[in-house]
Point group: C2
Chain length 480, copies 2
């Protein structure tokens, strides 16, 4: 078993780090290296006020520099924590004092928007929104879109297999990645910059690195497929009487729109009420007494198509699957509806929140949420739960407020949410990954045999355990 | 380095096999075990007259039996060759006398067609067409379709990441697989039967096994996503004046049909001529003098949509991108057009054929084929090349006839086809995999560093090298 960098005695680690700093400066130059206060002046994540604790942040400007940095850290046995846009929610990028942060922020080159092959070739530090804009300017669409588009980097999105709002139509980052370049723990550069749609030549190694949270390699460049943009979109908010009707609605509208359903976002009543009641600024587009609200978005190609979208929802209204509906007449109204769905911050007025991102089979979801709501209310009178999410993908986001939350209550709450998922074959992370936060709950959807294989892969690709240690699972057998 | 089963001295191997047979009979019963002549009465593949050379073929009826069989073979150090529908083209299932064949033919249970979660749960031995029919009966669509649907098994299609006719719309087997159960070399059962759309809980291990040709594990059960079936389809055959116009046509029709382009199959003139000239039975739906013919298929959802398909192609006809076109008026005509495209057997009248399945970037494809055609004609006067394929996916199939083909000419021909692909960042296998046949050409698209990682993965998951040895790459460093 390799000794992890962060498990070495602190004094040894500090000494190794001091020696390493000179080597790193040689590689990236003075402007590529931040030390001590310059590092601590940065925060650990978007909107956070907590300072980064590491002493060293290195900013390589090329793959060759990333390779040299990793080789140096590997030789020194010092752990490396990769930083992208820091928009994660599971402490996947937390660093300790003796660890080196490797930021991709100087690798922001868009190398090509190839309109014949329909791929984007870019460095991993490119911000999603920059990439989206460059692709749109070339008349194409970058299929993955997430709320954090203004900060999240493409490399971070690969490392966390980002999902977002249009997974139901375009899939997750994994489904859109054609190729990547990744630097292994010892500095070896693995060039898998495949731009082909099909390549059944041996094992498809890129999948090892997608969603592995920087624990197997540092993604430095990527090739993303691009799509033809929809000619237009139609958005509606519909009210639904019960969860069975939500399931029926999903199949019926997906069937009618023939592969062009772009989003199917569900808000449980409590959530809808919170985001449409003052001090929230938005007014309620539909009355607040319905059990479920669904934001439905579809791509429409020509003048005939809006009829089809409205006709289908109209038929479902007649059938009682939908009980109320409002259609957006223009882009401003579409944006306003999406703003409702995205106004999670609104819930903070009720107190501190614990956020969950779970995955369930659709048929189990309605019952699961109601049971959980009852259990929480029973355990802590006054506690509240708001549910919403990408229901088209079986992905529920939960926000929970528990009075006087402390570590023990938090642990109890986690157990209430996660423990029942195992029997339902759900998952503790739909799209946010495991990081440090969800490590105790990896076993909800992964068996000990699977985690043992994960450990073996980690051992092969990072035998010294220097890449983002302590994330996803612990190296030691026993605890997963 | 572990010693491979098939590299042991033959006498030792025979002795180990004799002992093993009794153990295997205990596991699967007499009806589950075929020996000697009963094995040799079978052929190595669809339409082949070559007998299987192995002495033992074991037919487990459950995952537990597969596990016990693998554990026994592993303990004995005997190699195991997995057999599905035997429709492969790269000698991926060839077995030697001292190897044990493991056939999934008794594992054909369709466990569930779940119309809410929209997944198929099935054993790996299920034939694709059986699965397609069961899914269609439930009102859904199994998205992957290949020509060998009547023989190919789902497990084999996972192991080879099958593609086929509708990759442009639905992706390959990898893109449609939600979960799998796989038995590792030592008999460990890895249950990754995930039915969720999203599950970012640690490494997504199923991707190791998809497309790894049975060298890392034996797939025993699968979960496949299902789609809403298109309401209808429109098929046209269009003639195109040059390859640049083929590229333009692809983007324009894909754009216009807004994600509902189902197929984009190109026939170069020689191919079209061969399949529409007697003794071929089909008449030419368009004159035979055009450089390129494209079979375009799109899903259409209602009465308005056919206009859109025809209007777009009409506009492209006016613009000279398309120079002739014929639209299918009914299912019979659609089937007849597809039959043209699929009539590869017709080429056999010109003599023995060598078939290639290569992947290229679209922009390179036209020039590559013409250059190759010239080189072959120059090298062997009278030699002929026919090109066709899934151009929407950058996948070209080549059929080549070289007079008096012998091993040396075959090697020269392979080099003419494959060697230029490396500089173009193409691939020697788009969808047929590597098997034994393409092993010398794995390096066209995979670097030595990548192949070394593949070797490491093989070493971790199959340290004795007993699973389908000799496929994809050689275990020894040096030769890839």
């Amino acid at each position: 078993m390799a000794t992890l960098g962060n498990e070495q005695p602190r004094a040894d680690a500090r000494e190794a780090l001091a020696t390493l700093i000179d080597v790193l400066r040689e590689i990236v130059g003075s402007s590529g290296l931040l030390l001590d206060d310059d590092v601590r002046a940065r925060h650990v994540g978007m909107g956070s006020r907590t300072s980064i604790q590491a002493r060293v942040l290195v900013r390589p400007a090329s793959t060759a520099e990333v390779s040299a940095v990793l080789a140096a850290c590997h030789a020194a046995g010092v752990s490396v924590i990769p930083h992208g846009g820091l928009t994660g929610l599971v402490h996947g990028t937390d660093a300790q004092a003796h660890e080196v942060i490797l930021s991709l922020e100087r690798m922001q080159r868009i190398e090509a928007v190839d309109t014949t092959q329909r791929v984007l070739v870019a460095e991993a530090g490119v911000i999603l929104e920059q990439a989206q804009n460059a692709v749109a300017a070339a008349g194409l669409l970058l299929p993955v879109d997430i709320g954090a588009r203004g900060s999240a980097t493409l490399g971070g999105m690969v490392a966390t297999n980002a999902g977002g709002n249009r997974v139901i139509c375009y899939g997750m980052m994994r489904d859109n990645l054609r190729g990547l370049e990744v630097v292994l723990a010892d500095g070896t550069v693995l060039d898998s910059m495949n731009a082909l749609v099909k390549n059944n030549s041996g094992y498809d190694l890129k999948h090892l690195f997608i969603g592995s949270e920087g624990t197997l390699g540092i993604v430095t460049r990527i090739v993303l497929r691009l799509c033809e943009p929809p000619a237009g979109r139609r958005v509606a908010l519909v009210a639904v009487p019960d969860f069975a009707a939500v399931c029926t609605l999903l199949r019926q509208i997906d069937h009618a729109m023939d592969g062009r359903l772009l989003a199917f976002e569900v808000m449980w009543q409590d959530f809808y009420h919170a985001v449409t009641t003052p001090p929230a600024l938005a007014r309620a587009p539909l009355p607040q007494h319905y059990p479920f609200y669904v934001l439905v978005e579809a791509s429409v190609g020509d003048d005939h198509q809006p009829d089809r979208f409205e006709d289908t929802l109209g038929t479902l209204l007649d059938a009682g699957i939908v009980v109320d509906a409002t259609f957006c007449k223009n882009e401003r109204e579409c944006a306003a509806l999406w703003a409702l769905r995205d106004d999670v911050a609104q819930l903070r007025r009720f107190g501190p929140l614990v956020a969950y991102d779970i995955s369930l089979r659709l048929a189990d979801t309605g019952h699961f949420v109601e049971t959980l709501r009852s259990m929480i209310a029973e355990r802590w009178p006054g506690a509240r739960l708001w549910a919403f999410g990408h229901l088209g993908d079986g992905n529920v986001h939960l926000a929970v407020n528990v009075p006087d939350l402390d570590a023990q209550r938090r642990a109890e709450l986690d157990a209430l949410v996660y423990a029942p998922l195992q029997a339902l074959r759900g998952a503790a992370s739909a799209e946010h990954c495991i990081g440090i936060e969800k490590k105790p709950w990896l076993g909800v959807s992964r068996s000990p045999a699977e985690v043992n294989v994960m450990r073996s892969l980690k051992q092969v690709l990072d035998p010294k355990g220097v890449l983002n240690p302590g994330r996803v699972f612990d190296i030691e057998q026993g605890g997963i």
